[in-house]
């Protein structure tokens, strides 16, 4: 899957609000270069939710942060609207960032424990000296289902994990962002609270016309919110396409493995042995050719020699694999 190429990118005129092309993020460490993201391309349309899925270490969080220029990527381009993010001056970047907001995995550590909730939610507004800050803070706190009169003067430790995540969402909404990058926003939460936050994100997206990038490792969670799914492996894209198509007929063997790993809450469904075992190889020295080949049940010689390129397998559905599952099955 170590797929490269840009065949899956859509024309810029189709209301594409974010276009990431050939994104490269590398870190120099003693002993080599960590290739966290290697030539990743994707785009997001206005009002769309892109689910970015993969295991820990596949570069999905790095991608989310690189879009925000945190830090600036080592190569490639990130176009947000008509701005090329990678070449903006620090001042221009600062002026652009309010339009791009992030929600993090651990809601408790992402809130300053010493500040009151109204200060946390209103911090961005006070930096930009917005005169309507107070009203705006109250509005977004009620939008996420909390009572501003009760919570404003409290501090994060007085709230549960789910409530803290609501507060994080309120903080993001206060800035009236165009794009919200949600980095595993529900993985630290109980299933019951997870459902509340997923529903809330769906509501907020409709109410504030947001475009979302939803990063997660669990395909079942992503399915509830995403219009498009992008599956990543070791810094590269394996498969990207409309949610319906990807879930119904995954082409990449890795997508299939991720689907298989989701626990089924039904004891009558037999648990089959997993076709894909092992863990991600080191991003210090990724495998040649297709990066997934070392764990792939379908790998052949060609996979070691040649890197698969993105190719279309259905409307808007692209896969980077020499021997995709769906093709084998129908053959």
């Amino acid at each position: 899957m170590a797929g490269s190429g840009t065949a899956h990118l859509r024309p810029a005129d189709e209301d594409v609000v974010l276009r990431v092309e050939d994104l490269v993020v590398e870190y120099h460490v003693p002993g080599g270069v960590v290739q966290a993201v290697s030539g990743l391309s994707f785009d997001v349309r206005r009002g769309e939710t892109l689910g970015l899925v993969g295991e820990s270490g596949c570069g999905k969080s790095t991608t989310g942060r690189a879009v925000m220029m945190l830090p600036r990527p080592s190569g490639g381009s990130v176009r947000f609207g008509d701005r090329e993010m990678t070449t903006l001056s620090p001042n221009q970047l600062r002026a652009t960032r309010p339009k791009l907001q992030m929600i993090f995995q651990d809601p408790i550590s992402s809130l300053n424990p010493r500040r009151t909730i109204d200060k946390i939610v209103g911090e961005g507004l006070s930096i930009w000296k917005r005169s309507d800050a107070r009203a705006r803070v109250a509005e977004v706190i009620s939008a996420v289902g909390l009572d501003p009169d009760v919570v404003s003067t409290r501090r994060p430790h007085q709230f549960s994990g789910g409530q803290c995540q609501r507060i994080s969402i309120a903080r993001v909404l206060a800035m009236e962002p165009e794009i919200v990058i949600c980095d595993e926003p529900v993985s630290a939460l109980d299933v019951s609270v997870q459902a509340q936050i997923l529903n809330l994100l769906e509501e907020m997206k409709a109410r504030y016309q947001l475009t979302l990038i939803f990063i997660a490792h669990d395909l079942a969670v992503v399915k509830n919110v995403s219009d498009r799914i992008a599956v990543m492996y070791l810094g590269k894209l394996c498969e990207i396409g409309p949610s319906g198509a990807v879930y119904e007929k995954p082409w990449h063997p890795y997508t299939e493995a991720l689907l298989e790993a989701v626990p089924v809450p039904d004891p009558t469904v037999a648990i089959e042995p997993m076709a894909v075992g092992g863990e991600l190889p080191s991003p210090l020295s990724p495998p040649s050719g297709c990066r997934f080949r070392t764990r792939c049940p379908l790998a052949r010689e060609r996979c070691a020699e040649e890197e698969p390129q993105m190719r279309e397998v259905g409307p808007g559905h692209h896969v980077a694999c020499h021997f995709p599952q769906a093709e084998n099955r129908s053959a």
Binding site: S56, A195, N224, A261, P267, L280
Partner: protein
């Protein structure tokens, strides 16, 4: 014959400045060799405190005077630490949610794995080394010889959890308590760790208490499920029975909130409104009543006790169990009124 572990009316309370916290409030269950019991509930339901109560891993502020936990004929409660040390790691082991914090960061993993062997079996040097390699191989750590000398931070989360499991299994315990062992892991690694626990259980015949907040994890891998709410077991049944004929509204709500792959894209998930109750000042009546779609006036006054439901071995604590005449009547009455007796909004029948 009595079961390997028999827990009867176990309670653990904590004295705090705000009052007495009833974290575990009268829990009864038993488990036999080779069996797996899942304890399922939300954060704050008392499931982790229950696990720690069994191991007596509790702070000094805990009051453990009520209830018994008898393991192979020995009463665990009230034992001295010295006596418990003979059991810990040898007869009963535990693995925790976060392997990074449960492993010692400044001790090489080989030494951590063999700690209980040295303590309980007096195995040192080459003998311990050999067993460590065997254990690491057993839990699926590739190239164990070179991993013996690494520190926990040099391993991935999945590998660390494997080390924790190898450590727990070193003396082949009869009972393994796994407290959310896969919650911090990716779904793919979760799958591997659950498969591993199942294989090791088949090979060694140990009993497992699997604590989780995810009913999906319990399905297909456990013999019995106990659902905890506010420090009590509210429903307990053989796993297939629990999933096919659940009776407690909380179990029903918990299962409905799981995102499923078979749902269409953009499915609105069922949620459980409200929050888990305050364990300091328990209100009168059923603890789940304020969040329950079935709640009737009786639920706010009386506290339901765990009673046998339709099938033997299936117990539920509810006056209006799901899918019974009483339950259906309660739900349709609430749906007609638009609210439960506790004031929670109840939509049209689902």
């Amino acid at each position: 014959m009595s079961a390997m572990l028999e827990v009867t009316d176990l309670a653990t309370t904590f004295r705090t400045t705000r009052g007495l916290v009833r974290a575990v409030d009268g829990v009864t269950f038993e488990i036999d060799a080779g069996r797996t019991l899942a304890i399922v509930g939300e954060s704050g339901s008392g499931k982790s405190v229950l696990a720690r109560s069994l191991m007596n891993l509790l702070p000094a502020s805990a009051d453990t005077s009520r209830g018994t936990a008898v393991f192979k004929g020995t009463q665990l409660r009230g034992q001295s630490t010295a006596a418990l040390r003979r059991i810990w790691g040898d007869e009963i082991s535990m693995i925790f949610q976060d392997p990074m914090t449960s492993l010692n960061p400044v001790v090489k993993v080989g030494r951590q794995i063999t700690e209980s062997l040295r303590f309980h079996r007096g195995r040192r040097g080459a003998a311990a080394h050999e067993r460590a390699l065997e254990l690491m191989h057993d839990v699926g750590i590739p190239d164990p010889a070179s991993r013996l000398g690494v520190y926990p931070h040099q391993l991935s989360g999945g590998m660390r959890q494997r080390v924790a499991i190898a450590t727990a299994l070193a003396c082949e315990p009869s009972l393994l308590i796994a407290d959310e062992p896969t919650t911090a892991l990716d779904v793919t690694i979760q799958r591997q760790i659950l498969d591993l626990l199942q294989r090791l259980q088949a090979e060694h015949g140990m009993a497992i208490i699997l604590i989780t907040h995810d009913l999906g994890v319990a399905a297909g891998r456990t013999d019995e499920v106990a659902v905890m709410y506010a420090g009590r077991i509210v429903e307990k049944a053989a796993t297939p029975v629990l999933f096919s004929a659940m009776r407690h509204p909380y179990t029903e709500a918990l299962l409905a909130s799981i995102p499923r792959l078979e749902n269409p894209v953009h499915t609105r998930l069922e949620t459980i409104g409200g929050r888990p109750p305050d364990l300091i000042n328990p209100r009168r009546g059923c603890a789940f009543a304020p969040r329950c779609r079935y709640a009737q006036p009786r639920c706010l006054e009386e506290d339901p006790v765990l009673e046998t439901a339709t099938t033997a071995g299936h117990e539920v604590a509810c006056f209006y169990p799901v899918d019974t005449a009483a339950g259906r009547a309660a739900l349709s009455a609430n749906a007609a009124a638009g609210a439960s007796a506790a004031g929670a909004t109840v939509g049209a029948a689902v």
